[in-house]
Point group: C2
DNA sequence: ACCCCAAATTCATATTTTGAACTCAGCATA
DNA sequence: TATGCTGAGTTCAAAATATGAATTTGGGGT
C-alpha cells in the first residue's frame, strides 16, 4: 500500500515520524516569507544599503524593512555602522556566518532556475573557482572518500533526532 | 565606494547587471508561495495523497489544492491515476524529472536547518548512500576534476545571459 | 436507496502585501 | 538660524492571500 518515496529505500518509512522538528520547515519559517530569499540573493551579490536593495527588488519599503529586521533577529544579517566622507553615520547590512552558510540554498535555487526556468545556456551568472576560473557546481558527495553520488544513490533514513509517531 | 560582494572577487560587479532574468527569482516565483516547499518535502518523503499531505502539513485544504495545481501547471508534479482494490479510481501526485531535480534545494534547506535551527546532532533524518550507507552531503565541486571547493573559493561572474544595466 | 471516502470547493474572517505619501535625523548651504 | 537634501525608514488605506469550518462531488459498497 505504501509505495517507496522518491528519495528512499524500502523501509523504514519516513512518514512514520513526526514533522514537528523538520529542518526544512525550520528553515522555511525564517526564509519562507515573500522577498526574503531575494534579499539574501542581493546580499550575496554585494548589495548592502537599504535604498539600493529596494530599487533592485521593487519590494515595498515597509516589507523590506520588516524582512531585514527579521533576518537581523535571526542572526543572519548584521547592521554595521559606516560613514561616507561628508555624510552622517549610517549603517549597512552584512551577512553573518549563519547568513553566509545560506550559500548552498541560493546556489541550489540558481542552478535549478538556470536549468528549468531560463533559456538554456543563458545563465546571467556563472560560478567559478576563484583561482583557476573553472566552473563550480553543487553536488552530492559521499562522506569519507568525497566521491560524488547521484540523486538516485541517495537514501533518506531516520536520524538521531527522529521522533516516531504514535500508532503508525 | 562599492565593496566586494561576499561571493565574488574585485570586479566585474554583479550589481551592474539586470535582475530581470535572475534564476533565483524565477525559481522563487514558482516555489516561493507559502507551503509550496513543504509540499515538495512531503513528496520527496513519499507522500502522494491529498489527505495524507493535508494532515501532515496542517495547511488549509484550499491552499494545498491550489499549490498542487500550480506545481502541476509548472510541470513539477504529475497527477497519476491509481486504483486500490475495491475502490474507485483516484489519482495521486508524483514528482516529474523537473520536480525530482529540486532535490538539491531541499537538501540545502535541510542541511542549513540541521546546522542552525535544530539542536545540534539531532537531525530527524540522515542522508546516506544507498549501497554503502555512508553519509552523503551537499558540496561545491569544481568541474573537470570534481574536487571539492569551499564557499570562500567561489566567485560569481557574469554569464552568457548577463544583461548590463544602462548607465552603470 | 443509503452510507462512506478521497478530493476538493465555498465562504466569511483574519492576516499580509502593496504603493504612495509622509517622517526623521543630521549634514550642507545660505 | 532657517532651508534643503538624502538615506532610511514609518504610516495608512486598499488589494490580495491565507485560514478553517462546512459543504459538495463522484463513485463504490452493502
Amino acid at each position: 500500500m505504501r509505495e517507496p518515496p522518491v528519495t528512499g529505500g524500502r523501509s523504514p518509512d519516513l512518514r512514520d515520524y513526526e514533522t514537528s522538528n523538520c529542518p526544512v520547515a525550520g528553515a522555511m519559517d525564517i526564509l519562507g516569507e515573500k522577498w526574503t530569499l531575494l534579499v539574501l540573493r542581493d546580499l550575496f551579490a554585494g548589495v548592502r544599503r537599504f535604498d539600493e536593495m529596494q530599487a533592485r527588488l521593487g519590494a515595498p519599503r515597509a516589507l523590506l524593512s520588516k524582512r531585514l529586521r527579521r533576518l537581523e533577529d535571526a542572526g543572519i544579517v548584521q547592521r554595521v555602522a559606516y560613514r561616507e566622507p561628508g555624510a552622517r553615520a549610517r549603517h549597512e547590512y552584512r551577512l553573518t556566518d549563519k547568513g553566509k552558510d545560506l550559500n548552498t540554498i541560493l546556489v541550489a535555487l540558481k542552478e535549478w532556475g538556470d536549468r528549468w526556468v531560463n533559456a538554456p545556456g543563458r545563465a546571467p551568472t556563472d560560478l567559478v573557482d576563484r583561482e583557476t576560473g573553472a566552473p563550480v557546481r553543487l553536488a552530492l558527495v559521499r562522506g569519507g572518500d568525497g566521491r560524488e553520488v547521484t540523486a538516485r544513490d541517495l537514501r533518506m533514513v531516520p536520524g538521531p533526532g527522529a521522533i516516531p509517531k504514535r500508532q503508525a
